[in-house]
Symmetry: C2
Subunit: 208 residues, 2 copies
DNA sequence: GTAGCATCTGAAGAATCCTTCAGTTTTGGA
DNA sequence: TCCAAAACTGAAGGATTCTTCAGATGCTAC
């Protein structure tokens, strides 16, 4: 809610190799505790125990619990954004139908790669700096998609930024619904087809 | 996570008029504390204080904090579902383009009517019974939309249930993005137009 | 091999929180 | 008017949690 930017930053950078491993263990422990216990029981003690270290070590790298959770969320979201930016670069100049395909496949792949992680972090994204963090990362992706749309040979959009925003956000809900309920690969495939249809129809209908 | 159905139920029904008022005050207090303090600081004491009553009173109606939060969330979601079911009834037999309009307008109206409430409850929906509760309510809406789609004179869908699910979930993301960032009414209107375009294009493209 | 920095440990203080319950106040009907 | 049931009160027990810090341990460069 308030400006918690500074105290949400990590505390120090790893110097030796083992500390990098510690941070890694910490991050995966967060995911595990989150899925097994839920956000409210995702406590520093439990995280440390799961990571096989002492509570004190946690505070060596993060000034408080929220900073740790924010770091894990940020890494996750950054990964998604990286993947999407790559997709956008690789799809420049394609017809919009192909862009739709690429965007859907890229987003689904990125989110479903570590389904557990994605699922677990939804709760974190709904609190504290989570909102702002997620919003910032989505802006990144939106910007990339906006640029991408401008390169389409078979379409020109009146307001590419808004089109990009709608297109992206339209994927969020359906993909999350897969993650919440557990879907079979077969169902996922059908759903991917439907999402491609959704985006393609929207993009083709929306060109000026 | 685990089966907490029973202890999440309210504890007793109001008999006198004042107790109904108490419950009402409790619910609005939850929303207020939620928006002002966030989920983790949305404590029984703070809620009671905000509602102008003693902590004990809270436990007269709800067996625990989670049950109270679940009740508030349930009422909110039920309201959305009611509105959407009404929209579906009122739109039977219309061409799919009109259905798309009605669905978008109905959903946006329902969610934005109490924007603060919607915003506040996203956090609650991401924890505990929130998942299941939200899933259940969305199933209700999906069912209504599925039935609605079958009445379209200008389209027949191969898998109406999936089409309904995609269409609905596609609205979730964009509308939430409005709620998170604060949007001007002008922007909301433009966005509504885009969502109508999105749904219309999808439904018209998806008819068998 | 050893000095010195990097990491780790984990008990303990301080702060909340959830929930209960014995007792008080209010209400509505007889 | 009066009383039994309904509501409400709020201090206190029991349980967690977050965070710190003084000391132990591991690593690496010299």
């Amino acid at each position: 809610m308030t400006a918690l930017a500074t105290p949400l930053r990590p505390r120090k950078q790893p110097v030796q190799a083992r500390s990098a491993a510690t941070i890694e263990a910490l991050h995966t422990a967060v995911i595990q505790v989150l899925t097994r216990e839920g956000l409210s029981r995702c406590t520093t003690t439990r995280i440390a125990e799961r990571a096989g270290m002492s509570v004190g070590s946690v505070y060596q790298y993060y000034p408080n619990r929220d900073a740790l959770l924010a770091a894990v969320l940020e890494r996750h979201l950054s990964g998604i954004a990286d993947a999407m930016e790559r997709v956008c670069l690789d799809s420049r100049g394609l017809p919009v139908a192909r862009m739709a395909e690429a965007l859907v496949e890229g987003y689904m792949a990125a989110k479903l790669r570590d389904a557990g992680e994605s699922r677990a972090l939804y709760a974190v994204a709904g609190e504290r700096g989570g909102f702002e963090l997620a919003a910032r990362v989505y802006k990144r992706i939106e910007a990339a998609v906006t640029v991408l749309l401008a390169t389409a040979p078979d379409a020109r959009f009146e307001d590419p930024a808004m089109t990009a925003s709608i297109a992206l956000n339209a994927l969020v809900g359906p993909v999350r619904s897969i993650l919440d309920g557990q879907a079979t690969p077969a169902f996922e495939a059908r759903l991917q087809g439907q999402l491609v249809l959704l985006l393609t129809a929207y993009l083709e209908a929306g060109r000026a």
